[in-house]
């Protein structure tokens, strides 16, 4: 559901089988005691890199929409996002 990848009948068994094999391997991490170890999210010592907030040229609306599967009046067009009640 979270992944929105559209599983179809038959897919579940196929992936469940493979994923449980992978998760069995991953379970070995539980053997390690990491109580006093800090997590590493990234490995180089840069933090909160900021740049000057200066306006600069960017893509035009036309360029930004050039790859859009559907566009109307300068917007991306999507199907309805709410059900009619």
């Amino acid at each position: 559901m979270l992944a929105r990848i559209g599983l179809e009948p038959g897919d579940e068994e196929f992936y469940a089988d493979q994923l449980s094999g992978i998760l069995d391997h991953i379970d070995r991490l539980q053997q390690l005691n990491t109580d006093h170890i800090a997590p590493t999210a990234q490995v180089v010592e840069v933090t909160n890199t900021l740049r000057e907030d200066v306006p600069r040229p960017c893509l035009s609306q036309e360029e930004a929409l050039a790859n859009a599967p559907a566009a109307v009046d300068g917007f991306f067009r999507v199907p309805s996002i709410q059900e009619e009640t």
Partner: protein
């Protein structure tokens, strides 16, 4: 002398000496591609028009004496690096038809240096794989043996350089995706330190691990291409602002250097005898050249794969959320509602391996499992990084095989994802710790190339390249082009 078999250094000299023009060189390469790529299938798309235009400009620069070392040199670009107006699909059907509105920084710097792009090379879908069999288009074949994989995920670029279908290539390396195909195809390949090369314009797989790097036919060429791409870029906040010193002391040799041999990397499961023999021989060559071999230990090696297969899928599941049928690429337009659009587009557009990793990643990040999987893996990442820090206190560089095996038969690992993941067991530690690593050919086993990996501390590409160069000189190694 066949120009499709030469190094950048050799070709640059011949171009400046007017032995042939850049436009003639492009023509020769398209002839070579025509000759070999029906079987190798390294390229997804050729960019003839762009190549001839860039070659024309290169010839002008040569004529006016403004040519640099990369002027007119033909290159292959992996299908994950955006080039303005050139269809770029990350090896996936979901991006079919996508033409980026801009060119990524690394490629732009090579264009600015005069390199000529021949085409877009095949890869595993979203760079997820170790064989290029997960491409959403077709598999690529190893130029040394068409029944074997070229490695992956950057298999197309590696195969192109090995087959004489480009002088150098670009790849990306998240867990070994440059070094492993370089080893399996018998060329030089390098993953730089995380942050060395800007990732702007790279279609993201796992953002804390991804780096762009070169495939070449010599260590000197590798240093040159890397040096050209390197440098701070305001458009990638993780790109480092550091001196461009990657080729410092390149030719200084290894006299007195301490090379660490991690015992866990030599005892790894599935290590082939032929690989072991070739690597042992390479170590003797380095020793004869004056290096001191010391045993080191990376005690958490056995946990690297497990940590990697949480962190990389977690990051990919988040990065790939943008492929939703709204902004670019494939879109199932007759969907009933927005959720249906997302689900049907992703169902149709993503291949098996991508779906597997997105599922694994969303699972590891979901509430209730986040601490047990994702945070745990990040803590183990700390332990792995610490292993390398401690090893580098005892040595200047770490040397091992790049891959425990030579190129394996096409289809032999596709049914068992874990066996495919194990291909990267000697390379993914370098990504988790952000280290630079180079793979260079060090002999053959069963008629297939073997790669030697040199890992160095962060920001010490110069050391990795210096060791590789010393091996190249001492062994008289020359990258051979397959399919002569």
């Amino acid at each position: 002398m066949d120009p499709t078999k030469l190094t950048i250094g050799e070709l640059g000299q011949l171009l400046r000496d007017r032995e042939f023009s850049a436009q003639e060189l492009v023509l020769l390469h398209f002839d070579r591609i025509e000759e070999v790529d029906g079987e190798v299938r390294a390229y997804l798309r050729l960019t003839q028009e762009l190549a001839y235009e860039q070659a024309r400009i290169a010839d002008l620069a040569i004529k006016t004496g403004e040519a640099g070392p990369l002027t007119g040199i033909p290159m292959a670009v992996k299908d994950v690096l955006c080039v303005k107006g050139v269809e770029t699909t990350a090896g996936s059907q979901i991006l079919r038809g996508f033409k980026p509105p801009y060119t990524g920084t690394a490629v732009q710097r090579l264009f600015d240096a005069g390199a000529v792009m021949l085409g877009v090379t095949n890869c595993d879908e979203f760079a997820m794989g170790s064989s290029t069999e997960n491409s959403g288009y077709f598999p690529t074949h190893n130029p040394w043996n068409f029944d074997r994989v070229p490695g992956g995920s950057s298999g197309g670029s590696a195969a192109a350089v090995a087959a004489g279908a480009a002088t150098f290539g670009l790849g990306t390396d998240t867990g070994g995706s440059i070094r492993q195909p370089a080893a399996l195809c018998g060329v030089v390949g390098m993953k730089p330190t995380y942050g060395r090369v800007s990732r702007y314009g790279l279609i993201a797989f796992a953002s804390s691990l991804d780096q762009i790097g070169p495939f070449t036919r010599s260590v000197e060429d590798c240093a040159l291409v890397l040096e050209t791409m390197t440098g701070h870029d305001p458009l990638d906040a993780t790109s480092a602002n550091r001196p461009n010193d990657v080729r410092r002391d390149l030719a200084a040799g290894v006299e007195g250097m301490r090379l660490g041999l991690p015992k866990e990397y030599f005892d790894v499961a599935g290590m082939e005898t032929g690989v072991k023999v070739a690597v042992d021989h390479a170590l003797r060559v380095l020793e004869s050249a004056g290096a001191k071999l010391v045993e080191v230990s990376l005690p958490h090696t056995d946990y690297g794969l497990a940590a990697y297969y949480i962190i990389a899928p977690a990051e990919c599941s988040s990065n790939l959320a943008r492929f939703d049928g709204v902004k670019f690429g494939m879109s199932e337009q007759d969907a009933q509602n927005i959720t249906d659009l997302y689900t049907r587009t992703r169902r149709k557009g993503f291949g098996t391996e991508v779906r597997r990793r997105v599922m694994l990643g969303t699972y590891a990040l979901s509430s209730g499992y986040y601490d047990a999987y994702y945070v745990k893996a990040q803590k183990v990442r700390t332990l792995i990084k610490r292993d390398f820090d401690e090893a580098f206190a005892k040595c200047d560089a770490i040397v091992s095989a790049t891959s425990p095996t030579v190129a394996f038969p096409i289809g032999s690992k596709t049914q068992d994802p874990l066996s495919m993941y194990l291909c990267d067991v000697l390379t993914l530690g370098g990504n988790l710790a952000g280290l630079p690593g180079v793979s260079i050919p060090c002999g053959m086993s069963e008629g297939l190339p073997v790669g030697l990996q040199v890992l160095a501390p962060q920001w010490r590409e110069d050391i990795a390249l210096r060791v590789a160069r010393a091996y190249e000189v001492a062994s008289d190694m020359r990258v051979e082009v397959a399919l002569v």
